[in-house]
């Protein structure tokens, strides 16, 4: 790894309450168990493709806990990419729905079996459809933020993406449109930097010392944090969000994270041993601080694993969409997004 990517110093001691830490841990375990189940499904042939966010839980879970979820410009708009399962769960998503999308059942609430796993979408929560093309969400984000700026209130637009994806012009579009002096926009731009784009290493492709520095020329507040530490993540995300909510200005947050199972099932979806596991680190801390014992944590993990196994069984029996339905829902006849 190039010196560009020296480890990010962690933030000072936490002020986060023990309850919150435990809740965060629970969600991280749940998210990991979900991803492991999904990988298992893939390997069993219960789904054609897996992609997700194992290794990013320490960042994605706090993010989801801090999203102001709801419908319309008073709430946060979420333009996620395909590694946000932890965020989704922390927002209150039901893991079985991810299994449904994995198995492309008609019951998949995000796309009815049309889209890949991890491609969330829910109008009730302002989660716009995740799409596979890298970085396009960054060109759309200013649009929802514009509506929020005009509406007043504290709703913000959150857009996430990976490190390699910042090479697309859309990343630059988001920087430019969010920082226009004529209309600064409440956009929280998040880069989860796992130092890889599929098989392509970060260091050969990025002349930037840190991706977050790309905000500086535009006067955008920017920061790079250790996304492997959930306490740091929680605090930093909360701080960045507060800035965006109250100042109505953009913020660029880069989080250094791990990629624990490689890129996707296309690269085998096997456990990497050379990447730090945020869950291991966090659990050690919780144990040291006497907040949760190893046994409690193992039980928790076992409980989620069992629940997901049940869910898997259930989903296996759910129906596949009918071929004739491909023509359904091409055009809407009502303006659903404007109805209350």
């Amino acid at each position: 790894m190039s010196t560009n990517l020296r480890p990010v110093p962690s933030a000072p001691e936490s002020q986060i309450s023990p309850e919150l830490l435990l809740r965060m841990h629970e969600l991280m375990v749940k998210a990991r168990a979900l991803e492991e189940r999904l990988i298992h499904m893939y390997k069993q042939g219960d789904g054609y493709f897996w992609i997700g966010g194992p290794g990013e839980e320490a960042f994605n879970v706090p993010l989801g806990m801090l999203v102001q979820k709801g419908r319309g410009p008073q709430f946060d708009y979420c333009h996620f990419h395909y590694r946000n399962s932890g965020t989704w769960l922390a927002m209150g998503g039901d893991p079985i729905d991810s299994l449904r999308q994995m198995k492309n059942t008609v019951t998949d609430p995000f796309s009815g079996g049309r889209n890949f796993v991890g491609h969330y979408s829910r109008r009730e929560w302002n989660v716009v459809p995740v799409s596979s093309p890298i970085e396009v969400q960054h060109s759309m984000a200013p649009g929802t933020a514009l509506a929020q700026k005009r509406a007043g209130g504290r709703g913000i637009t959150i857009v996430t993406g990976g490190d390699a994806g910042t090479a697309e012009g859309d990343f630059s579009t988001c920087l430019i449109w969010s920082s226009r002096p004529a209309n600064l926009l409440p956009v929280l731009m998040i880069v989860t930097n796992n130092k890889w784009g599929i098989s392509t290493a970060y260091q050969g492709q990025h002349g930037e010392k840190r991706i977050s520095e790309r905000g500086k020329a535009f006067g955008i507040e920017s920061k790079t944090i250790d996304g492997n530490d959930p306490e740091t993540s929680y605090r930093e995300i909360a701080q960045a969000m507060e800035y965006v909510r109250s100042e109505r200005k953009p913020f660029l947050l880069e989080a250094m994270v791990s990629r624990l199972y490689g890129h996707s099932s296309a690269s085998g979806a096997n456990r990497m041993t050379d990447e730090a596991d945020c869950l291991v680190g966090f659990e050690r801390k919780l144990e040291e601080r006497g907040l949760r014992s190893r046994k409690e944590m193992d039980d928790l993990r076992a409980r989620f694993t069992a629940q997901l196994q049940e869910a898997h069984k259930k989903v296996r029996d759910e129906p596949q969409p009918d071929g004739k339905t491909i023509h359904d829902n091409i055009f809407a006849d009502r303006d659903l997004v404007r109805e209350n």
Partner: protein, 353 residues
């Protein structure tokens, strides 16, 4: 009586006053210019964007997702070709979310030849647009249709393309086809709604009272009835087809001319009824002729009307060349003109069955 840019302006005004249009935006769309063709002068919600078409289409999608009816302009359709992925995403938003997220948005853009715009200001967009599922596509050939179609685009809960034929920007309605409420006198209307030259900072438009008048999607217009040949067109070439038909009527040829007006959905019933009667059909547009929307119409014709045809269905379209050259001769040779249209109709009329 309004020309097409003025009609567009009036529609935008009506939409921002009565139909919750929140944003009209694009390069040079806001004050002081009000659009490269002046189509957005005096619109209160019009604003200037950075020079970034991906940002424009992206913002249009984002605004639509947030429930804001909006019109994003691409200054010339020639500059939309780096955004096809985003347009495709827009077209699939409702479908991919299986009916959860619809997407109200309109992309307005000037298309086609006719102003000696050379290679990068003369492109057509109908072939590209009709190959993107999930969009409704309007393309007027008269100011009144521009007014009615643009209003339909804006209130539609789906992504729409509003394609404006550059060559017809200054064309006026035929008598009797005014937009109700507009002053009959061109000068009077201009005084009311055209921004003055020079300092415009204090200028306020005086809008005539014009009604909601929606030209629905999928409803073509039979511009001229006829028995011998059916000609189907839209945009710049439509008035040329009408003119050719008129000229040919003096040679005892009775040509029916249909203005498609909306390319998706399109008025197949009208085309079908006509071709079933005449047995001969010529489709005319100016996009390049390989993988052209007119070829779709030819295909549908052979699919459904083969046994009604007295002659092969024909397409007259733009030459398959990389661009429209600047010199007059080059432009004229690249896209259908009155003589070539007239000749194509005349030839088709006498083809053996």
């Amino acid at each position: 009586m309004s020309n097409m840019v003025q009609a567009i302006r009036m529609a935008l005004h009506v939409a921002e006053e009565r139909h919750d249009l929140t944003d009209v935006f694009g390069e040079d769309v806001g004050p002081p210019l009000g659009g490269a063709f002046t189509a957005t002068q005096g619109i209160k919600c019009a604003w200037n964007t950075p020079l970034d078409e991906r940002g424009i289409v992206g913002a249009s999608i984002g605004l639509g997702l947030a429930g804001c009816r909006n019109v994003g302009e691409i200054q010339f359709c020639d500059y939309a070709y780096n955004t096809i992925d985003l347009l495709k995403l827009a077209g699939m938003m409702y479908w991919v979310s299986n009916g959860d997220w619809n997407l109200p948005m309109t992309i307005m853009t000037p298309v086609g030849s006719g102003i000696r715009g050379s290679i990068y200001h003369s492109h057509s967009f109908d072939a590209t647009a009709t190959h993107i599922p999930g969009f409704k596509i309007a393309m007027p050939s008269t100011p009144r249709d521009a007014y009615g179609l643009l209003l339909s685009c804006i209130v539609d809960p789906n992504p729409c393309f509003f394609l404006v034929p550059k060559a017809l920007m200054r064309v006026r309605n035929a008598p009797g086809e005014e937009i109700p409420g507009e002053p009959g006198d061109d000068r009077a209307l201009s005084k009311l709604i055209d921004a003055p030259l020079g300092d415009r900072s204090k200028w306020q438009p005086q809008w005539p009272e014009t009604p909601d008048l929606f030209v629905p999607f999928g409803e073509g217009r039979t511009v001229r009835k006829g028995r011998d040949v059916t000609v189907v067109s839209y945009g710049r070439t439509l008035p040329l087809c009408a003119k050719a038909a008129e000229e040919l009527s003096q040679e005892n040829l009775d040509v029916e001319v249909i203005d498609l007006r909306s390319l998706w959905p399109y008025d197949w019933e009208r085309v079908k009824e006509s071709v079933s009667r005449t047995g001969r059909v010529l489709f005319v547009n100016e996009d390049t002729e390989v993988t052209n929307f007119g070829e779709h119409l030819v295909r549908r014709t052979t699919d459904e009307l083969f046994y009604h045809l007295a002659a092969p269905p024909k397409l007259l379209a733009g030459a398959f060349v990389p661009g429209i050259g600047l010199a007059d001769n080059l432009e004229m040779a690249s896209v259908p003109q009155l003589p070539s249209i007239r000749a194509a109709i005349a030839e088709l009329a006498v083809m053996e069955a």
